[in-house]
Symmetry: D3
Subunit: 158 residues, 6 copies
């Protein structure tokens, strides 16, 4: 199990607006939910961009799970290895998708609750400003506020 | 494992329009889909009115399954026993629902494809006539037709 | 089909914080999604508080739909009648739930985009202020903005 | 926001039986369901062939939504723009699918309830005749019948 | 936000086989998945027996989320308060379920990988022995094994 | 309807570890669950590797079903024909995925309950041994044991 810590996609500065992404998928019917669950954070730690489960109805009345992993095409071999090792599946399927992404960078906003990083994303004439989830979550815990209260305070200064 | 074969609810003549039904539910996170699946026909064979799975998102990123079983309140003890024996759950929850049901009886319709039972259901001024699924399915297989073709033929004679 | 137009729950002034609500449910496996869909707005027009579908896995590999309708207990008979008339089900199940609700009233906020109603809800020391969805949606369409832009403008004045 | 009204795919005459279709997808975890919902009719108005949501289980216990949009490859840029503008996502993924479709044209059927358009679709030796949903829905409302009653009347004349 | 740390239900010794459990539910359509997610561990920390999300299809094309919380009836007021505070809902619904549970206690098994707690559950003539998930997970991380390898080693000694 | 019986993928000996697989998909909104369900075993009998349903939320509040079929690319035409014939869809979409699979062969294990085939799968340094589901299921029925009891007995001899 290699341990390449990389920044999650949502916290990266992005300057291009096109690239490719690889989806690796498998249908799981012979692993328990509690044994499949730790595969999600494990793949994210190893650099997967996104991991998500989808409940599916398989043959013979089986309430199966589709595992989907979005990765950098360069990580293909390492990710396949981890999925085959830590899940019960005997095979995975692979599909390359093109991606179109907004250019993004970070700014720091001074709010009544302290500094919060703001992700600023642009595509043609579209601009989106999004408070960093982790910053808001930390303030919520530290100041004993709800996440909703923190976001509202941030929006009032945006 | 008792083997009380009873007619499935959908094939019973019903003359009252109210009764009670018991729902028995459990959240499953430590049994594989392929081991949970045979519980569905097993419970139906033992007289459950309906069994259904629902994909749920449980704690710690677990893609769990909610098992729901609708039974005659008189079968409560036998059904609890079977669920505790054949699933991994350590407990079940129980809830009584009232039911309102349409009175129903069966008629036989002569169609171009042969006789088909029609379930005739009534509630106040509402009448519904539904071809028996199993009869249509048998004709489809025997005559090498699609189910859709059989239903359309039946509706043309209804 | 009676046509009792009543205000949706989310737009009512509420002064008590407890009442009862009736859930009416049915598992549907013999009606098409496109024929089941219009039942949702129909029940809401007739005064249902909430209507929601949930995908379930039924016997014999059927990808069924659970229909759930939350209604005022006083509307029980009319709602059962509509469900039995407009869906394929031959029976429904009924369950009373207690409810605990926040007291709420409306205020009007003057924003840079015009007036917007704000729902103010209170429970013990909790206060929530929520812009009325329909007001924001109307402004978004009229001023050719995204909903997100409207909500952000409202939050800045809240 | 451009407003190219085009006929929905299900109401087009189709004479070829192969083409390509583009799927545009995004995983949404930072937009509310009520703010995401209007994107569905908006994309359909702009000419998307199909739009559908799928509940997915994302990282950190998030009950996210996968947005899927099927479009004409020639509409790629306009559709990407609308999705990036009206949803919270910072990127979309793109995949081309081949399609195999039944040739289809419309006929008008005279029924006891009035004229109803019938979509006639052919592929090799397969023929399917489907009553137009919108026509049936209009009759149901005008004559105060259930959709099921209208379809049954149509099938009896098909 | 009170912080009553209590043992999760799955790690308790249980000597009775019947009790009552309260389900608190709400349909969420105006909170983002990333803001709803932290409510799950928060409620579990405060003593909820189980918390689970279920994707539902709400009115106006909204892909909503049903929040379900199973709690000790004695915790009703505290749990309602937390849900109303940390989610966007303006009301919750409450339902008491009976429960039937297996009696259970813990034993320690010496395995080739070290000691593992085994939950031993009994109901009439049924006995189930389940390795403690957390113990197996810790061994997997410490010895760099997959969970599946740890469970198989434990089963070989059970 | 051709009847090419082929061994299900999960019971094949596999000696290569790469190939291509074709996914055929369709969104269904005008077929009932009970009429769609028999398509699953029908496609598997004709040689599909996997068939699965996924509940999706389609336009106009329709709780639709996504049908997904994974097939050998050489079976493309026959599978498209069967899907168009036995479902209500007027078109399907097609996508080729690469696959990476574990090499596998079968061994027979002598257990206290009799012989059980074990699937042995290998990929680089990963080895997985999985009891054949059908063998375990037959023993469970014959000896009146739960599937869990059979698997535990097998694991103790693995
Ligand atoms: Ni590893
Ligand atoms: Ni995010
Ligand atoms: Ni039994
Ligand atoms: Ni039925
Ligand atoms: Ni009506
Ligand atoms: Ni609302
Ligand atoms: Ni626009
Ligand atoms: Ni259609
Ligand atoms: Ni709190
Ligand atoms: Ni557990
Ligand atoms: Ni055929
Ligand atoms: Ni398998």
């Amino acid at each position: 199990m290699r341990k390449k810590k990389r920044q999650p996609l949502t916290q990266k500065v992005v300057t291009d607006n096109q690239d490719d992404i690889l989806m690796i998928s498998a249908n799981i019917d012979d692993q328990t939910p509690e044994m499949l669950a730790p595969v999600m954070p494990l793949l994210l730690e190893q650099g997967a961009y996104d991991v998500f489960f989808s409940g599916i109805q398989m043959k013979k009345n089986r309430p199966g799970i589709e595992l989907n992993v979005l990765v950098d095409p360069g990580d293909q071999e390492a990710m396949i290895y981890t999925i085959l090792k830590h899940t019960s599946t005997m095979g995975v399927r692979l599909q390359t998708w093109q991606r179109r992404i907004m250019r993004r960078h970070f700014e720091t906003l001074t709010t009544s609750l302290g500094p919060v990083r703001i992700k600023v994303a642009r595509y043609q004439d579209i601009t989106k400003k999004t408070p960093e989830y982790e910053d808001c979550q930390k303030i919520a815990v530290a100041k004993h506020l709800t996440l909703q209260q923190v976001y509202q305070a941030v929006y009032q200064n945006l």
